[in-house]
Each structure stands twice: as C-alpha cells, then as structure tokens.
Symmetry: C2
Subunit: 104 residues, 2 copies
C-alpha cells in the first residue's frame, strides 16, 4: 500500500473516531444532567481514574499505555468541559423560568 492508501484509511478511521467521540460526549452530557439533578459534582476523580485504568488495561498497542492514557485524559477533559457548560445552561434556564438565584 502507498502512503496515499494508508492516508485514505486514516481518513476513514477519523470519521469513525469523530462519530464515537461525539456519541461519548452525548453520554457525558446525559450524565452531567443527571448529576445536576442529583446535586452531584461534575468532577468525580474516582470515575476518571477508573476510566484511565480501563483504557490502559485494554490497550493492545502499538500505542504505548502512556500515550493512550494521555489521549483519554484529553477526551475526559473535553467531556467535563461540556458537562460544565450544560450545567450552566440548565442553571440559567432554571433561573430564567422559576426563581432568582445567584450564579455559582
């Protein structure tokens, strides 16, 4: 296979990665909403450590375990940002509709 062939294969993989990363983000948003309803904090270090331990354990290579860990740290970080943004939107919506409340 030529460099161009391998690149086409990477482009196909990237489409699948985009779909999965967004599907994962949707799940994180649902979790964020549920945490908000239950008054739980967005940042739950035990769960984040569980995810990182899982991905290191399941990693078959050729990516090093440290590399896959770094990538998932970024993926988790983006999910957390999205959860936070959604919580602020929910809070703003509640404030607008129901009661005056100071923003945390």
């Amino acid at each position: 296979m030529s460099i161009d062939d391998w690149r086409r294969r990477i482009d196909e993989i990237d489409l699948k990665l985009i779909a999965l990363l967004n599907e994962r983000a949707r799940c994180a948003l649902e979790i964020g909403r549920e945490k908000h309803l239950q008054g739980l904090p967005v940042y739950q270090p035990a769960r984040e450590n569980e995810i990182l331990a899982n991905v290191e354990r399941e990693n078959p290579g050729p990516l090093a375990d440290t590399a896959i860990r770094r990538l998932f740290e970024r993926i988790i970080d983006e999910a957390r940002s999205l959860e936070r943004a959604a919580q602020h939107e929910d809070t703003a919506a509640v404030q607008a509709k129901e009661r005056p409340k100071t923003r945390s």
Copy 2:
C-alpha cells in the same frame, strides 16, 4: 437511563475508541516506514492541516469544533511520536546490519 447505564455505554465506546486509535497508529507507522524509505520528513504540516480541516468539517457536535480539533491535534501528535520512534528503530537496525552511520 441512570448514571451507571450511561457509564456502561461510555465504557463500551471507549473499547471501540481504543481499537480505532491503535488501528490509526498502525497506519501511521506504515506511513512512517514509507516516508523513511523515500527519505521524506515525518512532519508534513500540509497533511496535518488537511486532517484537522476534515475533522472540523465532519464534526456533527455536541463537541465544539474547537474541541474536536484539540483532540485530533493530540491524536496526530501521538502518531508523529510513534513514527519518529519507529524511524529511529529502523535507522538503528540498518546501522547494526549494514553500515556504520552517524545517528541524526
């Protein structure tokens, strides 16, 4: 669905992400070998910009385009590290087998 249900779904997605990220890394290694044979540099900014433009264009959300771009910058960065490491191994193997050569 409960938080635990969503988390199980994320764990399933993560297994697929691990597989795809490693499949992508294998492609990058093949490209790295081919570049090495052809005397091309590992870092090819035009191709990296093409990938980033692709993923931003294809991103359906809920991840922001800036978020998906940041994630792929990291994915590309890990691929480049792996290509570099493989080229050094290839160079070392050639040095050992064929001819004395100063390491770049």
